[in-house]
Symmetry: D3
Subunit: 140 residues, 6 copies
């Protein structure tokens, strides 16, 4: 079930077609996954989101592509986004995530879920040494 | 404020002392951060949690130490654990996270937060190609 | 799948029948959506919840009906309640939400999801000017 | 910091005074904790919330009072409500929660946090035997 | 406490200065709230986020400015972002939110929080009539 | 759909077989629910998780078995883990949860969800009397 049904003729809208063409060219495949077809509900939202994905996930940068996908999975699990968990787990595998790495990723996510709850339940005070602002020079 | 106040004499309990000694030996420092002092509310919980942290985060493995910390930060942000965000951001920096990497980590977490909400709002159906079970051989 | 299966004869319980009759009368339809049939697991819970929905969402008030539904969608997305996202998106459309408004609602929810994560990740200190308590007169 | 500052003269509003009087009489104390003073922002909301708390938490019922508080703590931790964690942990202790029970409660909350994330990450299919609807008689 | 400490000299970076100048010009005030100073940790992230805020929240559109702020508050509460709750509650008041509207907003957020949990606990099946895809024409 | 497909021959791995044998012996049934089959993606994770479940949920302790299951349900609902809600609701029923208790559990979870959101929205300051650290003796 879904709350929105994209038409079968999305690409008759030139703004949508331009984004889809860029997705196909960037990824080197004709496949457009559902996320983009659903975001077409609002062409401006589609354009902005794709531009941000290209910028943040798609460009060579200081974090390698597989690590980016594993971080994306981690956030998606904690936020409980079923679609995103599926799509980014597939993407991580496509970028070389081994089953051993997947098992470790799960172990970290599970452990973090546990210690997150424990620190929250106990309302553990943050240690002073963890405060990045403690050495901040006074203004002026 | 906190929901629990550890005594000043936690290490008079030999089980607690043994864990704290191992934390100090493992990390090469006398500093015991608050998380462990608060978990001492239940020595068995303290022992299990430290053992799991050593196993999952502390051992050489298929995911490098800095990546593990960045994944830990990502989960902690999505779960909104203030203590954990502080402690693991500090740990990531201690393991060499550059400001450039930190900025990119934030960008990924923010983008994932956004696309998680969008996929959930639209209840986007998962594409068949993302289903790891689709090629599963039938039993027998 | 579900964790509870309502009987086919719910309205043989007069408390349940009274609530369902009021739902039908209030909404001018014979349709009782699943939420109410499932809440009948506990007639007192059903009565209280329907009374609260009538009071909070159903009465003319300082926030217009469509805005109420959009706020309800926003909370339901952030809380990841699939049922609620479906039912309140349908309700918003029934109350006149245009596709343009829907697209904008999605854009706001997505942006908030992103900036929520960023402010949490950075543990941004709240500016003094945002503290509603700062001008509070001293007691006595 | 806060987003609302209750006046020092809340009880000049007879609706607010009536609720506060009932809280004091029900609990046998003059102390009104901040939650109720802040909910007075909207007297109808204050009245409904107090009535619901009396009904759900305050009345003798099939779940004993301490268990109710532990369940309340569990939800509040998972929802990350700092105020609620503090107030219900204090309430559980006032109702007799031992330190041993508190430690076990934390262990369950932590373990659930972990297995919740793991099941979500793996998108584990629900076993048929857990579906309460599987034996539901057909309508008619 | 915070995980990042912006320098006192942020605007010596021309990219940061350009964004801050635009914030001041757009809002007609010299005040730059902490969110933007912290996002300056990554100038590209700052630029993208401000551009998106201007586009989504700042432009005249099909949803009025006060409603946008109330939706933003709703998401921020459900996501538990303390900074965002403070800043957007202040913004909503600046845009004319009355105390009556604030009380109603709280009532809707609270009710949604309750029914979200109930629908999730009962795993209520989505009614067919809420499925936007049910009338979707077949492809081809 | 799922992000992982366990093989049909999991128990050819002796570590997995040992855990499954212990699950069967401990529970007195041949049934292995999906959670354990999926966790077998990483035998070490499977071993640790089962050991923790046995320790935390399976042993006689200061919290009775049914209460443990109700707490587990409460966390799973707030964390929105569909699998866990199903499995632990079934487990609670198997341990004797009556429909009356189930209705009350739902009422508490729903009320907590509501008051959690309200306290968060209002950013209600924690009362001093709820601070467990307020009477803590000074060190030394």
């Amino acid at each position: 079930m879904t709350t929105y049904a994209p038409s079968d003729d999305l690409e008759s809208d030139p703004r949508i077609k331009a984004v889809f063409d860029d997705i196909r060219a960037t990824r080197g495949t004709d496949f457009i996954n559902n996320m983009w077809r659903w975001l077409a509900v609002d062409p401006a939202l589609l354009e902005r989101t794709w531009a941000e994905v290209k910028e943040v996930v798609g460009k060579p940068s200081a974090i390698d592509p597989l690590t980016k996908e594993m971080i994306y999975i981690a956030v998606s699990v904690a936020n409980n986004c079923s679609y995103c968990i599926h799509s980014h787990t597939a993407a991580a595998r496509a970028k070389g995530m081994s089953e051993e790495q997947y098992g470790e990723l799960l172990a970290i996510i599970g452990l973090a879920g546990k210690t997150n709850q424990l620190a929250t339940a106990l309302q553990v005070p943050v240690d002073d040494v963890f405060d990045a602002g403690r050495h901040r020079p006074a203004a002026g």
